[in-house]
């Protein structure tokens, strides 16, 4: 019965007797579009308005990845069977969601398919979308806690994820909202980092508290906190040097900085944001785990979503660590920073 529904779509169009034989064949055919993903751009079902235009722009590639392939896949299956789940599993893995989380999601999907007595492979897509959204919504909280004056935002992460750039964007965004912002050049290690932050500051007309390259980052942050208090700024955003989470000494140094923040900012609103690069694979989970231990991160910033990377790690990290994604970076311009909304994120992936 169901087969007839899909006859037009399925090129292989197997008859009932041949289905099992053809399955293997069909499977290998389906692999090809995946290999060439990102090269062709079939019609897009996206028509989000201006508000989300930029997000959409950034996510189009991502969307093409998962959605088209799920569509292709779903269309080419005529009934829900193990192969379908297996293929869905593979698609999620290819999106960097990770083996662990993928297995969980697929297991839940199985349950849900059973509960809903779903018999149509097309329904599976909807259920999968639901599950992914739920995973993100469970911990969702896109707002930054900036109630007090001053409030403080610490930005941490491994090398090269885009911390300084993200700070430039956040500062710009807050300033546009009418807030009085101050920046602290806490990356005293990397060559040119202080200069880089100063340039971002200039672009938005924001002061930067800095010491010399090579000086103690804790001292810079301390000074910046004092300055923020005496100047009565609304938000102080502190840059920190990129560090690999497995470098004990560097993590200890960060711990020291946070100790000072904790001591000097008692009673003040604090955000500790971990920046993750969307192109990063499973290591992001490890990064988040260890940074969370040392800095008690309150949220994530997912950067570089304007590439072809799927950013699936967000789902794993949210699920495993219960830390919400707060902001996403979708481009190199000052305004290319968006609040993270699970619904919109997944909608943009699947619509």
């Amino acid at each position: 019965m169901l087969k007839n529904l899909f006859k037009g779509n399925d090129e292989d169009n197997p008859t009932e007797e041949e289905t099992s034989k053809e399955q293997e064949h069909a499977q290998s055919n389906r692999e090809n579009p995946r290999v060439q993903e990102g090269e062709e751009a079939p019609e897009e079902g996206l028509s989000l308005g201006g508000l989300f235009g930029r997000l959409k722009e950034g996510l189009t590639k991502t969307k093409k990845g998962i959605t088209d392939r799920v569509d292709d896949l779903v269309k080419s299956y005529t009934k829900i069977d193990e192969d379908l789940f297996e293929e869905l599993e593979e698609i999620l893995i290819t999106a960097d969601i990770g083996v662990n989380t993928t297995m969980e999601i697929i297991d839940q999907l199985r349950d849900r398919v059973r509960e809903n007595k779903a018999t149509d492979p097309m329904e599976v897509k909807g259920l999968l979308k639901e599950l992914l959204t739920e995973a993100l919504e469970e911990v969702a909280n896109p707002t930054l806690d900036l109630k007090t004056t001053p409030s403080i935002i610490m930005v941490v992460g491994v090398n090269g994820v885009g911390k300084t750039t993200s700070i430039g964007k956040i500062a710009h965004k807050l300033k546009a909202e009418g807030k009085n912002v101050l920046l602290a050049a806490g990356d005293t290690f990397r060559a040119g980092a202080i200069e880089q932050l100063k340039i971002w500051g200039e672009r938005s007309g924001i002061d930067v508290i800095s010491h010399q390259e090579g000086s103690d980052p804790a001292a810079v942050i301390y000074d910046a906190i004092q300055a923020a208090k005496s100047r009565k700024v609304d938000v102080l955003i502190c840059d920190t040097a990129g560090r690999l989470h497995n470098k004990k000494n560097l993590m200890n140094e960060l711990g020291k900085v946070f100790k000072i923040v904790k001591r000097e900012c008692e009673g003040l609103s604090q955000e500790s944001l971990l920046v993750l690069d969307a192109t990063t694979g499973q290591n992001a989970i490890q990064q988040a785990k260890i940074f969370k231990e040392v800095t008690d991160i309150s949220g994530l910033i997912l950067t570089k979503l304007d590439g072809t990377a799927k950013g699936g790690i967000v789902i794993s990290v949210s699920k495993e660590l219960k830390v919400p994604v707060k902001l996403i970076g979708v481009g190199e311009k000052l305004e290319d920073l968006q609040s993270f909304e699970p619904k919109i994120f997944v909608d943009a992936l699947f619509d």
Binding site: G160, Q196, N246
Partner: protein, 449 residues
Amino acid sequence: MIFEGLAEKLQNTFSKLKSKGKLNEKDVIAAMREVKMALLEADVNFKVVKDFIGRVKERAVGDEVLESLTPGQHVIKIVKDELTHLMGDTQSKINFSNKPPTIIMMAGLQGAGKTTTCGKLAKLLKKQGKRPLLVACDIYRPAAINQLETVGKQVEVPVFSMGDKEKPVTIAKESILHAEKHGNDVVIIDTAGRLHIDSNLMNELKEIDELVHPHEKLLVLDSMTGQDAVNVAKEFNETIEINGVILTKLDGDTRGGAALSIRGVTDKPIKFVGMGEKLDELEAFHPDRMASRILGMGDMLSLIEKAESSFDQKKAREMEEKLRTQQFTFDDFLDQLEQIRNMGPIGDMLNMLPGVPSKQMKNLNVDEKELNHIQAIIQSMTRDERTNPGIINGSRRKRIARGSGTSVQQVNKLIKQFEQTRKMMKQFSGAGMDKLKKKGGKFNMPFFG
């Protein structure tokens, strides 16, 4: 992590298998599922994994299981061999042009570590007697030029820059003339980070390529990159036909599956790996180490392999005897230390030890320098002192510290550790040793217990 030790999982998969003989298809398929998971968890691209598994399956089915190995170990051996093979040879060389200057162009995504790597490469080449020139072609990122200039100062290599108002193509072209005039025989061009789908910036890269014809075009890639590594490598390779790859941030704890992915789609060699933030931390790429790493820690087989090849069986027997009779001396200690060091970095070794939880390992920071100190201290002892540590009194300790360039505290610490080890080994040589032997052949490591 779902995957803590491939070796263990495979052992479980094969635990029902009593007879050795040939690997049959059913077993191999079961094993390959675990291998597949391991590779995916290590961020190897899905398509690359599938190809790889197919190849290994073909090779493994019907393969005679080696006498000394369990079927599970044998499968890992095949997997590791294939992985090493796929990773290519060690080709950590720069192709120098007959007619200087040799032009090297670095390219990659934002934040991959291009500028730092430029500095590292300049330092390396300078050490080889070259006179490199660094060229600042990243006119987009704020303070990128400033960063390269600072890096240049640190490695004492001149930096050519024309500010951020000139086009990168112009800067590149001018830099070659500058190098010719100033006798620089290598030009290293630092380009801006760009997305592989940004056609404007990719075209810019192509323009530079067509104008200055670099002899080496190196893609700088973050070793933590996930499934997307294939897209990045493919696009860059198609645009500028890269000569090789530099994998950065490998001093992190990523499994680095991206290395396999890029080999899978470009077939270009990985030439160097970035191993730290300091500018001398650029190392040659070792395919076998990378293979072990991608397969995950707890790779017991490579330990066995390494142990068998570098551990002198006779010496090991002697050692065992000594341990039993408690004649273990500083000389033996030194001897073992050297043998073990022949096997590779100690951190790796510890990770490969069977039955040692990787969580514990994370807190164990093994400093290779520390081992150098130990070696120096023992070598500063007289023969008598080595065989009979009891005679080492205060003034001897002072002398040993002076001789080895360490402190008395360090000498004290070592002697104390040695005594403890001796004690421990006495217990260990009873029950524990037999267990170890059963698992991994002759393998005694007194000071790691």
